[in-house]
Symmetry: C2
Subunit: 208 residues, 2 copies
């Protein structure tokens, strides 16, 4: 997922947080290897030895940071959730607001999905392997969209309305567009997808 040593808060199991830069690097390697292992095999078939083999680390170093396969899976879901949020935030041009901002966020998400196709397999499997992390991911994402819409409403860019429902609708649209036009088939230009969604958000689809 992330290629730097950035880690989500509480990546390791409780009491096992790395204290050195080298420890953080090893933890990062284990999370990147876990993304491949869980992405390729799914939660049930994935194994700790598969993760350490991919990471090129000793089996013992896994247990330095994690208690179990469940623990690294949860850490990975939080890691991916944070990576999507940070990537989208970083790619939205500063100063973009309202619907233009939502379009930029969708474009950034579609590009992310195209280059990290394992994300759906992992986040979606959390619904079963780690329901709390699954829910935290979508609750958190919806809250960020809602906050952006609230701000756009305050700025007079968006009509007053139920921004919670709007946020869940928009998030669902983005997730399914990312699956269909990002992961399953990435042959259509990102701009085609964002143009249709932008027009829908701008003026709806009713003919007047």
């Amino acid at each position: 997922m992330a290629t730097d040593s950035r880690l989500p808060a509480s990546a390791a199991s409780p009491g096992k947080e790395p204290r050195t830069a080298r420890g953080r690097e090893t933890l990062r390697k284990l999370l990147d290897a876990a993304a491949k292992e869980f992405g390729d095999l799914g939660f049930h078939a994935a194994s700790i030895s598969g993760i350490t083999r991919r990471a090129g680390t000793a089996l013992g170093s896994f247990y330095t940071y994690f208690d179990s396969k469940e623990a690294i899976f949860s850490a990975l879901v939080r890691d991916m959730s944070q990576a999507v949020a940070e990537t989208v935030a970083a790619e939205v041009p500063p100063g973009s607001r309202g619907i233009a901002m939502e379009s930029e966020a969708l474009a950034a998400f579609l590009r992310f999905a195209r280059t990290h196709k394992e994300i759906y397999r992992i986040i979606d499997e959390a619904e079963f392997a780690d329901p709390d992390s699954y829910r935290a991911h979508y609750d958190g994402t919806a809250r960020r969209i809602e906050a952006r819409l609230d701000k756009a409403q305050d700025l007079g860019l968006v009509t007053p309305g139920d921004n919670e429902v709007r946020a869940w609708a928009l998030m669902g649209a983005n997730v399914f567009l990312g699956m269909r036009f990002g992961v399953w088939d990435d042959s259509r230009p990102v701009e085609d997808i964002t143009a249709a969604v932008t027009a829908l958000l701008e003026g709806g689809i009713a003919r007047r």
Copy 2:
């Protein structure tokens, strides 16, 4: 899922289709029991003996209709996919068109999700346990929405546009609204949810 004896096409494993009304009833019982077993336990923990126990049938009758746990899971995903489509189609008032029709379809889907909360657990797990059925479910649903939008466009109710992208966006919105306001928390009136989506589809959210 369905409480009548209606069955999806090719519900049983190849060569095992029931030939009598009684056989169809047993098959229906097995599918209803499978919905509970997979819904409660998930694919991996679910067992054929758990399904026949819930159905009140002998273990042998399972193999009369299905080859394996995988086979009945696939049949169940097709069954649920068909049940959602038929329920929504039956609840949309005849003659409703365009955006009004999409609102009615969302309302019907939200009511369905509230009374069949196991549907997400089962359809979503198909992404892992039976990827072909998962994809067929969403491809089929998106195509139905796209066809409705094409028709609404022909009738001059909807502006010309990319109805494939619109359909995937609308389906994603519906799926996530059903999860958030149907399965996770059903305390808000269905009308609140549909009103926000109808307004969005009608005129967008941009302030002019």
